[in-house]
């Protein structure tokens, strides 16, 4: 039996919990040999709203873009030579390319960089 888990809520009235219970009703419980079981063909009426980590291009792109949006804040694990990194990055950002030394950057760094690179991007777009 396959329960279609790809779909979204909607018709469910927001009661995804209901479907979780129905899954048990369909898949668990006592089975008595002497009784016939109703055919379970067409069981895709069950819809569950779930997130799936599937190895797919869509997932990879979604994750990459979500990571890009994440603001890795907090200042902890700030690199020892913060100033050097900032200088380096600003310079790279100004040239419109980077060298991947952002590791461990503190919030201030990433924010500054984020702003400058998005400005840079906009400028480049306008120039096109």
């Amino acid at each position: 039996m396959t329960v279609d888990t790809r779909s979204t809520p909607g018709g469910s009235g927001g009661s995804s919990g209901l479907y979780d219970v129905l899954e048990l009703v369909l898949d668990r419980g006592l089975v008595i040999d002497a009784f016939v079981r109703v055919s379970l063909v067409g069981i895709e009426i069950l819809k569950v709203d779930v997130r799936v980590v599937v190895a797919s291009v869509d997932t990879y792109l979604r994750f990459a873009e979500a990571c890009n949006r994440l603001d890795l804040e907090t200042g902890r694990k700030a690199p020892a030579q913060l100033t050097d990194v900032v200088d380096d990055m600003t310079e790279s950002g100004a040239r419109g390319k980077t060298r991947g030394a952002l590791q461990g950057a503190a919030q201030t760094v990433s924010e500054t960089l984020g702003r400058s690179s998005s400005r840079q991007q906009k400028k480049e777009e306008q120039e096109k």
């Binding site: 979780d20 369909l26 109703v38 779930v50 997130r51 799936v52 990571c67 890009n68 984020g114």
Partner: protein, 238 residues
């Protein structure tokens, strides 16, 4: 007329859901077939019964109602007997076995727990824990998101890290909750959640189980927990 069977309980059950709405449209009323110490909750079986939502719900509702006032062995949806006599024959043959199962489940209910990751929170953790991925991501960010190939490469590595964390968190959830339960069994196979577990919990200790769930939620904000219960012990009757 064939007979639809919902579950098996004791004939001494104090509040059998007789005449409750069963499967079918219009709903067939629930009846009780008794033999000695055991009773089957049944109704007429509609022609061409299909696993429609309303029928699944009716099945669950009858068992839920019966389970509130006593112990019930829930049947899986869709068990149809040729007639009432065949149900009676099963009760006669298996009375001792069912009574033994009912006794072992007395005072216990099922809680089904599913956990998934809050995507943003888990991605955040993955980046915090993996300096390489963080560097790569921030690199892309600095260049306005990176090229398509760069995104794919980053996303693939992030997805692998998330999967790894799923496996770890599945163990975490089980270990955090099984102490408050009598027994734990895996739920039906499915995608989209990192773990699906059913716990058999003493009804009197349901509060402690809820506390364990709350603590898990509090301590691990990246987990989205969905708890359903108390339910008839679907996962603990075989």
């Amino acid at each position: 007329m064939s007979t639809y069977v919902y579950g098996i309980t004791r004939s001494s059950h104090p509040a059998l859901p007789e005449k409750a709405d069963g499967v079918g449209d219009p709903p067939r009323p629930v009846r009780v077939i008794t033999h000695g110490g055991v009773a089957a909750l049944v109704s007429d079986a509609p022609e061409n019964l299909r696993p429609k939502r309303r029928d699944l719900l009716a099945h669950q509702n009858v068992l839920g109602e019966a389970g509130e006032a006593g112990t019930v062995l829930p049947l899986r949806f869709g068990g149809v007997s040729p007639d009432d006599d065949a149900v009676l024959a099963v009760l006669r043959e298996r009375e001792a076995h069912y009574l033994e199962r009912l006794t072992s489940l007395d005072g216990k209910v099922e809680y089904n727990v599913k956990a998934a990751h809050d995507e943003e929170a888990v991605l955040h953790q993955v980046l915090v824990d993996n300096p390489d991925l963080r560097a790569l991501s921030q690199d892309h960010r600095a260049t306005g998101g990176g090229t398509y190939e760069q995104k794919l490469a980053l996303g693939e590595r992030v997805a692998a890290a998330v999967k790894h964390r799923e496996a770890r968190d599945a163990v975490l959830v089980q270990e955090a909750l099984e102490g408050a339960a009598v027994e734990c069994r895996p739920g039906p196979e499915g995608t989209g959640r990192l773990v699906n577990l059913s716990f058999l919990v003493e009804r009197d200790h349901a509060g402690a189980f809820s506390d364990a769930v709350d603590a898990l939620r509090r301590e691990h904000g990246h987990l989205v927990l969905q708890v359903n219960g108390p339910l008839p012990p679907y996962s603990f009757v075989e």
